[in-house]
Amino acid sequence: MISRRQSLRNIAQAGVGAVALWQSGAFAAVYMEIAQAQKLLQPEANSFEPLALALDAARLTALAASTQTQVPRGYAPQCWAAFSGSTAVGWVLSDRTVGKYELIDYAAGFTADGSMTGLEILAYRESHGAEIRTPAWRRQFAGRKGAGQLRFGDDIRNISGATLSCQHVTEGAQRLSALAQSLSAAAKGLR
């Protein structure tokens, strides 16, 4: 039977051990840069060209209506077209959204027909809700096409204790998915 003093001592020793393992210098919040995320989301692509998205007020209103989400103030996702040689294979879109108090940077990959290839968390700045970084949660996004297949609670399961982060990232993914659908439609229209 471990006495309370002994357990406190054990915890203190574990704490000292943890601090000893501390390796400072790396920013704990940023997990990967966009270049690494691009490779993970579009493994067949070997070049990425930035693409400006024309998101004027009318398009943002249409986006909010089609995804049934509220577009955050200052919404400015970035887009890259992914190429394998000279063939376009899809897109990578990146965005940021609030978790509970802090911003989450994330990116999603899309195939040429607008299906999601995956979701990567680039930067996560809170201790609450860090579970959205687990592969098990992010795997839910692969293969989904369109905002209607990304409904929070129905299609994308929640993580207890991380509900706000899960919900906001899912809604952000819905918006990126809607943008990818319109990029895909525009690309098909040009062919």
Binding site: R4, L8, I11, A12, G15, A18, L21, W22, Q23, S24, G25, A26, A28, A29, V30, E33, I34, A35, P50, L51, A52, A54, D56, Q68, P72, R73, G74, Y75, A76, Q78, S94, R96, V98, K100, Y101, E102, L103, A107, L122, A123, R125, S127, A130, E131, R133, T134, P135, A136, W137, Q140, G153, D154, I156, R157, N158, I159, S160, G161, A162, Q167
Partner: protein
């Protein structure tokens, strides 16, 4: 200077740094330089955007590829940060409020309504790794010498992320913070629980919102395991009153210190684990053990201690939200103190505990509106036995409180909820009541 030219200069500078073989910079220096370049790049892109806008260029233009500089998803400097209430400074405001009306079924003359809680919180981000958070709460609307409200700091802590070699990313918290025990202690906004009032087990057994001062560590593994541990202040048994009913309502709430001139001769420690590796499913548990006697001279139980353990599970498949929790607590080394309470109404219990099961279902949703009916059954007892008191000197052990709560949460918006429920107490119908509530969080 022309922004494009500046861009080229930056690219050349980064290129020069990368190709110089004898350039022995430390990791910290390179990181700092990259951060400075990132900031400068963001600023230059902002200027470029402004320039393009004023020249009325075609909106869909392919931006020149930015190969050399580290291209992060940081938007141009003109973007307004997506943080509520922020002026772009790292400060964010948040909060919640809940109010309710309660009418005992058998005694309408005791109907009451109160603004249960108004909470304003603020968080400030010092840098990517360091932040503080605080919550100020007003309970029951009015606080003065003659009023029954309460103003309190619910949380007040600094958090710092560290990256370790073997444990991955961990967060260290220091200050006054909520312990990661049960479900409601850390997440108790009105929009996040079912029913007008918080459940009995996590109010009477686990004294939500339970906060202590100390240091805590939290880590999350790639497999979805979240662990917490810490050393914090503990309860103060010298506050126990054997003549008041506070200890019967909630043993731990009656002796909590909440960072208010807390006795700290005895400390407590906690550990918690939660598994969230399967989306929609959570299972976990926690333990708290702390000295409550503080070795006080002249106190009958200077070595008294308390241990509280709980386990919980939650499953959210589709529209369902099913959860369960069980908690049990034990006071040790209180026999001598109880001997001094012989014949009085509220000695210190040796054991107390409870459990609940709850199910909710999202029966209807349209845009932001949603309706979630729910039902919860809970069973608890704040005193299952007394140490140090012979039969006859101790009060009779009360039967377990058994309560059934049935009602619904109606969301006008995910952050605004109207609530109604009915509560039936199997062993004491005088407590049966009908409740209405309103809550929101931002």
């Amino acid at each position: 200077m022309n922004p494009t030219f500046r861009l080229a200069l930056i690219a050349a500078a980064v290129g020069a740094c990368c190709h110089s073989p004898a350039f022995a910079q430390s990791n910290a220096d390179i990181a700092a330089e990259m951060k400075r370049m990132r900031e400068e790049l963001a600023q230059v892109r902002g200027e470029l955007e402004t320039l393009k806008a004023t020249k009325n260029q075609a909106p869909v233009a392919v931006v020149a590829p930015l190969h050399a500089a580290a291209s992060t998803p940081v938007s141009a400097a003109t973007v307004v940060p997506l943080v509520s209430g922020s002026a772009g400074s790292g400060l964010s405001l948040f909060g919640y409020g809940e109010m309710g009306y309660s009418r005992p079924r058998k005694d309408a003359s005791n109907a009451s309504a109160t603004v249960g809680r108004g909470v304003l919180g603020w968080a400030y981000r010092f840098n990517d790794r360091t932040r503080m958070a605080a919550e100020l709460e007003v309970e029951n609307a009015v606080v003065s010498a003659g009023d029954k409200g309460e103003v309190a700091l619910e949380q007040f802590y600094v958090e710092h992320d560290v990256q370790t070699a073997s444990l991955g990313n961990i967060s260290a918290k220091a200050g006054l913070f909520l312990l990661p025990i049960g479900y409601m202690n850390e997440v108790h906004e009105p929009t996040r629980y079912f029913g007008v009032n918080r459940n009995l087990v996590e109010t009477a057994i686990i004294p939500s919102t339970w906060r202590e001062m100390g240091v805590g560590l939290r880590g999350t593994t790639e497999a979805g395991l979240r662990w917490d541990t810490g050393v914090v202040t503990s309860f103060d048994l010298t506050k126990w009153s054997a003549t008041s009913t506070d200890g019967q309502d909630s043993p731990l709430r009656a002796i909590h210190q909440e960072g208010q001139l807390a006795k700290a001769r005895s400390l407590g420690a906690y550990g918690a684990v939660n598994f969230n590796g399967i989306p929609g499913f959570n299972v976990g548990g926690s333990v708290f053990a702390g000295g409550v006697g503080h070795k006080q001279v002249g106190f009958a139980a200077p070595d008294a201690s308390v241990t509280l353990a709980e386990v919980h599970a939650r499953w959210q498949p589709g529209r369902w939200d099913i959860s369960t929790l069980a908690a049990a607590g034990r006071f040790s080394n209180v026999a001598a103190l109880n001997a001094t309470f012989a014949g009085q109404a509220t000695p210190v219990p040796s054991n107390f505990g409870g459990a609940y099961v709850q199910a909710a279902y999202r029966i209807w949703q349209s845009g932001d509106y949603a309706l979630h009916p729910f039902a919860r059954y809970e069973r608890l007892n704040t005193a299952r036995g007394y140490d140090g008191l012979a039969q006859g000197l101790a009060p009779a052990i009360a039967p377990d409180t058994k309560a059934l709560t049935v009602g619904a949460n109606f969301y006008l918006h995910p952050q605004v909820v109207l609530k109604a429920d009915m509560q039936k107490f199997q062993n004491n119908s005088a407590l049966d009541k009908f409740n209405l509530g309103l809550g929101f969080h931002f």
